[in-house]
């Protein structure tokens, strides 16, 4: 197949998308052709290594269609049970299937012996969102402000990896919070028995762990505790700090 035919087939496969988007995608591949040719590859080789343009177009369409995150990204509770007699091979297969369904985090969860939590990917647009939290692992990226409302459930895990903010009220047994960026989490009104906080960056969090708090800070973040827990484990590397109530 020639370069020209590759581009034609790619564009055919993208028909229906906005023209500006089709042009941008085609230019990705035009750049590639030019760069690979400059590296000494023949046109045939370049086409062969790129793969089938119709299939690439299908993949690109899948990635550009507007999806409603609350409806489509919220995966239902996974029907996975493992009997003790399952072979290693079978377990590995399931593990890989889990990986495909939920991403690495959930697969690791499964191995740790817990039920895989549904993953909610919060939308990327910086807006105020309310997301139903039902035993979920909630990912918040970018600069969103997310109010999870009033929660009553066993455990909740929240990953905040941008500059966003998240808050919730209510009662959980176990709260796990990862903050990787400059985000801010206000869980001062969410009573938990056990709280795990893992903060790497400049973010800050307020949490309420009545029985146990397990806090790791790497960087300049601050974790404020609403109540002094019965057991407190803390590890601080950097200028960050854990602030106890007076």
């Amino acid at each position: 197949m020639s370069r020209a035919l590759f581009i034609v087939k790619l564009k055919e496969g993208l028909a229906g998308l906005p023209q500006s988007e089709i042009d941008e995608i085609a230019s990705d591949y035009e750049f590639h052709f030019a760069e690979a040719a400059a590296a000494g590859q023949s046109e045939d080789d370049i086409v062969a290594r790129l793969g089938d343009p119709t299939r690439l177009a299908r993949e690109l369409r899948g990635g550009t269609e507007q999806r409603h995150p609350a409806e489509e990204e919220l995966t239902p509770e996974a029907p996975v049970t493992i009997s003790s007699g399952t072979s290693t091979r079978g377990r590995l297969g399931l593990l890989l299937a889990l990986l495909a369904m939920f991403g690495m985090g959930a697969a690791a969860y499964y191995i740790a012996g817990r039920a895989p939590a549904p993953v909610v990917n919060a939308p990327a647009a910086p807006s105020r969102q309310t997301i139903a939290a039902t035993g979920a692992r909630i990912m918040i990226s970018g600069g969103q402000v997310v109010d999870l409302g009033t929660i009553a459930q066993e455990r909740i895990e929240i990953v905040l990896d941008g500059a966003g903010a998240v808050t919730a009220r209510g009662r959980v047994k176990e709260l796990t919070l990862h903050i990787d960026g400059s985000g801010s989490a206000d869980f001062g009104a969410l009573q938990a028995d056990i709280v795990h906080v893992d903060l790497s960056g400049t973010g800050n969090a307020e949490v309420w762990g009545a029985l146990m708090a397990d806090i790791t800070i790497l960087g300049s973040g601050t974790v404020r505790l609403k109540e002094k827990p019965k057991a407190l484990t803390q590890s601080v590397t950097g200028s960050g700090k854990v602030i106890l109530p007076n």
């Binding site: 941008e24 995608i25 990705d28 591949y29 750049f31 590639h32 030019a34 760069e35 690979a36 400059a38 590296a39 290594r49 790129l50 793969g51 089938d52 343009p53 690439l56 993949e59 690109l60 990635g63 550009t64 290693t88 377990r91 590995l92 297969g93 593990l95 890989l96 299937a97 990986l99 495909a100 991403g103 690495m104 985090g105 697969a107 690791a108 191995i111 740790a112 990327a124 990226s141 970018g142 990953v159 990896d161 941008g162 990862h178 990787d180 960026g181 790497s200 960056g201």
Partner: protein
């Protein structure tokens, strides 16, 4: 291993690889695709849908340069959010790897 699972597995790893390569240095598309397809045997074209998605998510940014010999090149660079995503994904990957070693044993 089912074929589709295999592909999904590679895709998850692909994003981590792209983030890692771009954290090392800004690169143009062909540099990334040729390095990755040699290493993990994927069609080179599949890297571009991923780069596009990463651009939308503001994990990568692009800029154009003129090269002395040859065509202008479009470089991809990691944004701050991209660096953070890399840190988060590396942590996930480590946990996943440890869990796998738990089941499969360590061959080292």
């Amino acid at each position: 291993m089912a074929d589709s699972t295999h592909i999904q597995l590679k895709k998850g790893i692909l994003e981590l690889c792209v983030l890692t390569l771009l954290a090392e240095k800004d690169s143009y598309g062909y540099q990334i695709t040729s390095r990755l397809s040699d290493a993990i045997g994927m069609a080179e074209g599949t890297v571009y849908p991923l780069l596009r998605k990463m651009q939308k998510d503001e994990l990568v940014d692009t800029y154009l340069t003129d090269s002395a010999s040859g065509p202008p090149r479009r470089y991809f660079k990691l944004t701050k959010a991209g660096h953070r995503a890399l840190a988060a994904k590396r942590a996930e990957w480590k946990a996943f790897k440890a869990a796998l070693v738990d089941i499969l044993g360590d061959d080292e």
